[in-house]
């Protein structure tokens, strides 16, 4: 795919709002939007048009049984203690505390590794990387955190970097990712006050992936990545493969 720039954004934005882009292209558009928030209004405007399509089908009345099932499910969730509704992030992350020193130790290696981006990165992630570099040189990037993630992916040789932008958004780029089983996806979580918020999907292009982190990192306690069913989950269903306390 050609690099995502203003022209190529124009080219695919209609397909994006219709949901007609494959996941890797969708992630590229979202990463572009993270770098160009001034273009979000165009997308919101188009979403208003595509949203009309949702009202076009003939109307059918859902069954009373469906209503009962939905309300029972909500009541059941409410009945559980709030802490039990989600896996407590502290314990969820706690298993990885020991990895912190390992991860910090790996930081020097990571920095060296990141210097080889231009050689290693290809395709969409290369394009995204170029945009990140462009943003940095233009002074749009507030902070680049060469984060030493821990987790099983790191043990398997993966490297990750987060670039924070001025508008509180950030981009996560992972290289040398282990393969993800079919029907599964990498999902980013921003943990805030022990609550993991779904914050983007990592769709690999070869063995690399990039995504805009959709939750602000300002007050976040940690960033983590888990492997989830395709399309992502509402809450983590597996242990982190990447994790970094902030």
């Amino acid at each position: 795919m050609s690099p995502m720039n203003d022209k190529s954004f124009e080219d695919v934005k209609d397909a994006y709002v219709l949901g007609a882009l494959p996941n890797d292209e969708r992630a590229t558009v979202e990463a572009y939007l993270a770098l160009h928030p001034e273009r979000q209004a165009e997308i919101d405007d188009l979403v208003g048009i595509t949203g009309l399509l949702a009202l076009a089908p003939p109307e059918y009345e859902p069954s009373a049984d469906l209503r009962r099932r939905v309300l029972d499910a909500v009541e059941s969730e409410s009945a559980r203690p709030r802490a039990a509704r989600r896996r407590p992030a502290s314990s969820w992350l706690g298993r990885f505390a020991g990895l912190r020193s390992v991860a910090l130790g790996a930081a020097a290696v990571l920095v060296v590794g990141l210097l080889s981006w231009n050689v290693l990165l290809q395709g969409d992630v290369h394009d995204l990387r170029g945009q990140v570099e462009e943003a940095r040189s233009a002074g749009e990037a507030q902070e680049t955190r060469e984060i030493a993630f821990g987790g099983t992916w790191v043990e398997q040789g993966a490297r990750a970097e987060v670039t924070a932008l001025k508008d509180d958004r950030a981009i996560l780029v992972v290289e040398d990712m282990p393969s993800i089983p079919e029907g599964r996806t990498g999902q980013v979580w921003v943990i805030n006050d022990e609550k993991p918020e779904p914050s983007g999907l990592l769709e690999p292009s070869s063995n690399m992936a990039a995504t805009a982190i959709t939750t602000p990192l300002n007050n976040a306690d940690a960033i983590a990545v888990t492997v989830e069913p395709a399309g992502g989950s509402d809450e983590p269903t597996s242990d982190p493969v990447l994790v970094q306390e902030l």
Partner: protein, 196 residues
């Protein structure tokens, strides 16, 4: 008392119900469900083509709405659009994961709520909106409408549509663009605001 409370929910705007849901108000959720489940189910049925799959998708979408109430941003669109986009996105994910292409209590009582039209009026209004939308779609050339439907309701990517219809990818993208533009123009020409 319960009836009185339900009446209060019925006159609250969607945005107020969302605020109440953030605080864990199940009755606010029930009111929102009653207001939008038919549209969500109809969309789900159109996408999945099967009653059971449509019910599962609708349930999945509304549970997501319940869990993500804090994620709603009014500046990005109406609550209805948000709910339907959740159903749509999850429907797309499900279609693509399938091999087959068959493809706030006190606040309620204390606040002065923004009023919602009466249910009868609201129903009439929604029906009118649907008519306008269908009229808008009827103005599209068949080849544009088909591509919008394949993308939006059936979950095909632009490349898949290109292969399916034996059209250059650029043509598919062009027809998507023109189709959406034409829908907008319909509402502009009719001097009607685009329903949110």
């Amino acid at each position: 008392m319960f009836v009185a409370k339900n009446r209060q929910y019925a006159i609250l705007a969607d945005e107020d119900l969302m605020s109440l849901m953030e605080g864990g108000d199940e009755e606010a959720f029930a009111a929102l469900y009653d207001r939008h489940s038919r549209a969500a189910y109809s969309l789900s049925y159109r996408m999945m083509g099967d009653r059971q799959a449509a019910e599962d998708l609708t349930q999945d979408a509304f549970l997501k709405v319940w869990r993500s109430a804090g994620g709603y941003r009014s500046e990005r669109g109406s609550v209805r659009t948000w709910i339907l986009s959740i159903a749509h996105n999850r429907g797309i994910d499900q279609l693509r994961s399938l091999a087959s292409r068959r493809r706030t209590q006190d606040r309620v009582e204390q606040s002065a709520p923004r009023s919602q039209p009466s249910e009868a009026f609201a129903e009439t209004w929604r029906n009118r909106q649907r008519e306008q939308i269908r009229e808008a779609l009827s103005t599209l050339p068949e080849e544009q409408l088909k591509i919008l439907e394949l993308a939006y309701f059936s979950g095909y990517t632009h490349v898949e549509i290109s292969n399916l219809m034996d059209l250059p990818l650029g043509t598919v993208k062009g027809r998507m663009r023109l189709g959406l533009k034409k829908i907008r123009e319909y509402f502009d020409q009719e001097n009607v605001a685009i329903p949110r």
